[in-house]
Subunit: 276 residues, 2 copies
């Protein structure tokens, strides 16, 4: 008999379910010894669809031999009721958080948790799309045009994590993040690229361990000078000296996720987006 | 007297706070008539830092003339206790969700909600970074190499939303999303680009309203044929006919966010990432 059967976890929403899923991933990560099968069921906006979900929940419970877990952001009472015909542990975003908020604010909510309808028209959303386009146009130093409009400019040696971090900053926080490589020519001159001088206050550096960098570069260009460990050590050492001398704040990306790096950048450069 | 004073909302975490914030945005969107000032306080991993947070909460409460709202994913009891010295409405992810999960699973959690430490080493994370690199290398049809490895290939006219959607699919879901423009030459030949024939089952189309497309293109290349409304109408009409004849599923991106579009694509093409 298996003491820890696989549990199926459903993320259910009348919208994309991304809120329920983000919370769900954090919660499930708390139980590293359990095995979870995760199922996203978005756009459940009718009693009929909720009934189909209830059937899927029941089936999963039978197959697993343990009742499923449902993290849901549904709000329509009829839809919720149809869902609850299945046997499961229901973790309900609405019930747990909206009610205390309604009491606190003395206002009824609009009952649309999880719905992203209308978001595409919001200013926030337009900012994010604009930031993504800006970041793509200013990846890897390809364009110096409009660097004035950048909220932050990441610098660092090739493959130190600048591109995915820039994109995450744009996508999650609506930050216009350009990035600019530090290359051997800069180290020979021992100076920042000329284009960056006047944006010194927007610069943020990324560094990485030589071993990790050599590994990443090796996948790209096997057995090249570019990927050679000694060369990686040299480039990183020179880049760090340069950043230190120019008083550029920097961070080691080696053991950090793009979420962590981006959050630290937001904190350090006091980016004032969305009223933070 | 102001009946609806601005409320300050704090997202507090010992990690990035992105989970607390994602949930928070969904909840606050329920109260469109309220004005909120949002403050992210990440990496609160000591009693000292929690005391600083409590001071900030108190100050905000005085300034607003209303007690703040705190959405927090802290778990250390001492740290939580230090935070709770301030007067606020506390919405606590741990208390509300972890306890019922522990009871259900018959296991203690590792008490690390909100922490992203270690995520950079996970397989999921590596998949996401690999997907981002793949997507960037296969944006706008720039490379046909390794299209075999794509999970999905988005097609559509220029500026129909392919690029931000591809990046979101990669970043959020770890999906390798290539994208490929449908251009006037394709319409003249009235055929799919040759390179795409053998990947027909991976194709997903995006379309957009001619008015919105003309507006977006106008910002890029003012008063060009490219941005002309009649030309946009023609391109979209041809693209839709092509997709229909080739049995490519498609979606109108006009009033949808990249979150919505991406979720629908995940659903429609039955992408099996992360065990979904």
């Amino acid at each position: 008999m298996n003491e820890n059967p696989t549990r199926t976890v459903f993320f259910i929403s009348d919208g994309t379910g991304i809120t329920a899923e983000t919370l769900g991933h954090s919660l499930l990560a708390q139980f590293p010894e359990m095995r979870f099968k995760q199922v996203r069921l978005p756009f459940v906006d009718s009693v009929t669809k909720a009934r189909d979900c209830a059937t899927r929940i029941r089936t999963a419970g039978k197959e697993d031999g343990a009742r499923p877990i449902v993290i849901n952001s549904l709000v329509e009472p009829d839809v919720v009721a149809a869902l609850r015909h299945a046997d499961a542990l229901f973790l309900d975003l609405f019930e747990r958080f909206i009610e205390p908020l309604e009491n606190e604010l003395g206002q009824r909510s609009t009952h649309t948790v999880g719905r992203f309808h209308g978001i595409a028209d919001s200013l926030d959303y337009k900012d994010r799309i604009e930031a993504i386009n800006f970041t793509l146009a200013h990846d890897d130093g390809v364009s110096h045009a409009e660097l004035e409009a950048a909220d932050v400019i990441l610098v660092g040696v090739s493959r130190s994590g600048k591109t995915p971090t820039s994109l995450y900053l744009a996508m999650q926080f609506g930050v216009k993040a350009a990035n600019y490589p530090l290359i051997p020519e800069d180290f020979e001159r021992n100076k920042l690229p000329t284009e960056l001088h006047k944006y010194r206050r927007k610069l943020f550096g990324l560094t990485i361990s030589p071993e990790r960098l050599a590994q990443i570069r090796q996948e790209r260009r096997p057995d090249s000078t570019y990927a050679d460990l000694d060369n990686c050590r040299f480039e990183i050492d020179m880049a760090q000296r340069l950043m230190q001398r120019e008083h550029i704040p920097w961070l080691d990306s080696t053991a950090r996720s793009i979420e962590e790096i981006s959050t630290k950048i937001m904190q350090d450069v006091h980016l004032n987006k969305r009223g933070y």
